[in-house]
């Protein structure tokens, strides 16, 4: 009885059921990728509103941490830095660490902090943590530029290995994203998560070679120590950035890559399973 052509002709059919997916619909998410970009843009635009230094904080945070470490550990305590200038050693470490830390934290609270939108309209939920990841990638670019300047300033430009450095950043962010997916799901259900996570991250900070060289760890603990994927990543990242740092062990790189992929798949799967449950709880 309507005079209009059927608007729905040929439209895709969406099945709404109580079935639990075991993996997020990544094709659907990809179709909506612009939304992740928009959300990331929003994060970037909003974050430093009403601060004086604005986006300079992105570089200032790792620089401040580097400054403190250099002063206390490098100058006063003479902590080993694997033969590199301590400031450069610490800067490479804190740069990667800050990015890792931020991705875990931001993706971790992303779902709960977007609850106002999530409860009002549907879109592939995985785009919310994805936007947090994207934000962190953009955040890393100026830090990256600063790192290159620093290696040049110290006359430690590594040459070709620098081409591999993005791969290490990528691995670190993927791993952080995977952890963040777990956190965001658990956080939506138990708000305790956001209180525990900073402490856990602090622990990880201490058992990773951010402020001391891995050679400081006694030989009998080295195996165990290298189970922490950040150890291999930081080694690799330093090697790709600073001439004179030792290359990472092959096994530890394989371990990092394998673990990143496994954690990402597991994280996405957990996200897909719990997403619907979490939405009712936030």
């Amino acid at each position: 009885m309507t005079a209009h052509p059927d608007r729905h002709a040929g439209s895709a059919v969406t099945e709404i059921t109580s079935r639990e997916p075991i993996f997020p619909d990544l094709r659907e998410a990809w179709r909506h990728r612009q939304l992740a970009v928009m959300l990331a843009q929003r994060n970037l635009k909003v974050r430093y509103k009403q601060t004086i230094l604005g986006s300079a904080w992105i570089v200032l945070q790792p620089l401040l941490l580097t400054g403190m470490l250099t002063l206390v550990l490098g100058a006063v305590l003479s902590v080993p830095s694997g033969g590199l200038p301590y400031a450069l050693f610490a800067f490479t470490g804190t740069a990667l660490w800050t990015a890792f830390n931020r991705v875990v934290t931001d993706t971790g609270i992303s779902l709960a902090s977007s609850s106002n939108v999530i409860l009002k309209v549907y879109f592939p939920r995985v785009l919310v943590p994805a936007a947090a990841l994207l934000t962190a990638v953009v955040d890393f670019l100026p830090v990256y530029a600063m790192l290159i300047l620093a290696t040049l300033a110290y006359g430690r430009f590594p040459g070709w290995p620098i081409l591999l450095s993005p791969a290490f950043v990528f691995l670190a962010l993927v791993m952080a994203f995977a952890v963040g997916l777990w956190v965001t799901m658990l956080d939506a259900i138990y708000r305790d998560m956001r209180l525990i996570v900073p402490s856990i991250l602090q622990l990880v900070f201490f058992v990773s070679p951010v402020m001391y060289a891995e050679t400081a760890v006694p030989a009998r603990w080295q195996m165990l120590y290298h189970l922490n994927p950040l150890v291999g990543l930081l080694e690799g990242f330093r090697w790709s950035f600073v001439a004179g740092s030792p290359p990472p062990g092959f096994i530890s790189i394989v371990w990092c890559v394998g673990l990143s992929i496994a954690m990402l798949l597991a994280g996405l799967s957990v996200f897909a399973r719990l997403e619907r449950f979490a939405v009712d709880r936030i």
Binding site: T2, T14, I16
Partner: protein, 418 residues
């Protein structure tokens, strides 16, 4: 043959009520240790159960029911915001969901940024927003402030911009919840007009939840009536509204109804506890004939001491929010003690309203009504006063009020000299 746009098959949604389920065990342990430890009982609530229906493409379907009947749950299930506990549904085509005005708006961002952000969140592509950008701005009438952060907007500007974004969505299925309850009368007219276009001229499939029965009547031919999570009626609009009205209780108990909503707006130190509409004979009803005497009986309770008490009643045409009349009445010049309760009746003799639906807005406040303690309206589920008429006068449905008038013959001699 028209295919279905929406097919719902025994849809059901269960929510866990009460506090955090994750705390149940802790609570149980605490209760065992300390008998006086009080906690909310944890229970299931079927917000919706066994809802089956089908909507043809191009159909506009209204959904009515009292607060908590499951209307919003149904919309959330069909728009995939939440997932059913049981049953299934098939939805064919792109769905646009408008459950609130300004989804995704960020106060720190400018109007321009928010148009892009909200548009993308609501399902448009960046390119679509860019193409429609000028139209959206024009529709919102806030050109001058487009590069101002929306936190500096007046609430009217905010609502206009937010609605403008939504108005340019291009979904095959539009799911709309009570968004039109915000804004002033002219905004409501505009947004209803837009919705009407979407349903009638553009042939979109529309699911529309509203307390505005007149609006539902205007652009839906079919209505679903929900009651306590069940679909109790599916059919022609007039019959459905009739059924819904019949189910409205004569006495509205306001102890719990919409308390959160009320406390958001006002202090709640004095609260309405009940409202009833009575006819001349004292029978509770919300339906009257033009010319009937309408008695509105209000009960209230004082929860914190106040120095005086006043009452305000506003009657509005449900269709477009136009004010019919406002009544302000002091109840007491003297301080009111905690625990004091009262009941009063407002009598409107021979109500001169033409057939229409009247929404009630009632408030308790200072004796001079400068500030309010409690406000109740459709948001807390107050029913509408339905005014009908037996007269065969076709003009009786035009206009809101019948003024008293008479026609008198004028003798030629009495004519005014030119």
């Amino acid at each position: 043959m028209t295919e279905y746009a929406i097919e719902a098959d025994a849809l059901g949604k269960r929510y866990l009520l009460g506090e955090d389920a994750s705390r149940t065990r802790v609570r149980q342990a605490m209760q065992a240790l300390l008998p006086r430890w009080r906690s909310a009982e944890l229970q299931d609530l079927w917000a919706l159960r066994n809802a089956s229906f089908a909507v043809e493409s191009g159909e506009a379907v209204g959904i009515i029911g009292r607060n908590g009947a499951g209307k919003s749950t149904l919309l959330k299930l069909l728009s995939r915001i939440t997932v059913p506990t049981e049953g299934r549904a098939r939805v064919r085509g792109r769905v646009g969901t408008l459950l609130e005005v300004g989804t995704g708006f960020h106060p720190e961002l400018t109007g321009r940024d928010n148009i892009y952000l909200s548009g993308t969140i609501l399902g448009m592509t960046y390119r679509e927003v860019a193409t429609k950008f000028d139209e959206i701005v024009a529709f919102s009438e806030i050109e001058k402030f487009i590069d101002t952060p929306v936190k500096r907007y007046s609430s009217g500007m905010y609502v206009r911009l937010a609605f403008a974004v939504a108005a340019f969505l291009d979904p095959e299925i539009l799911i709309v919840d009570e968004v039109l309850a915000v804004g002033d009368a002219s905004f409501q007219r505009k947004s209803l007009g837009r919705l009407n276009d979407a349903a009638r001229r553009e042939g979109r499939t529309v699911l529309f939840v509203s307390h505005n029965l007149q609006a539902i009547r205007t652009f839906c031919r079919r209505v679903l009536v929900l009651d306590h999570g069940s679909l109790v009626f599916d059919g022609p609009v007039d019959e459905g509204i009739e059924r819904y009205m019949r189910a409205v209780p004569g006495l509205i108990d306001l102890h719990k109804s919409g308390l959160k909503d009320r406390l958001n707006r006002t202090s709640g130190v004095v609260r309405f506890t009940a409202i009833t509409a009575l006819d001349q004979t004292g029978r509770a009803t919300w339906r009257f004939q033009s010319g009937d005497t309408v008695r509105l009986r209000f009960s209230y309770e004082v929860l914190e001491p106040v120095r005086d008490l006043g009452f305000l009643l506003m009657l509005r045409a449900a269709m477009d929010g136009q004010q019919i009349t406002t009544i302000r009445e002091p109840l007491s010049e003297r301080p009111q003690a905690v625990g004091q309760t009262g009941t009063f009746e407002l009598v409107l003799p021979n109500i001169p309203l033409r057939p229409c639906e009247v929404s009630i807005y009632a408030a308790l406040g200072y004796v001079d009504c400068r500030a309010f303690y409690d406000v109740i309206d459709a948001n807390v589920d107050l029913p509408l006063l339905v005014i009908g008429s037996d007269t065969i006068d076709t003009y009786a449905r035009q206009g809101l009020v019948s003024l008293e008038y008479r026609v008198q013959p004028v003798q030629p001699a009495a004519q005014v000299q030119a």
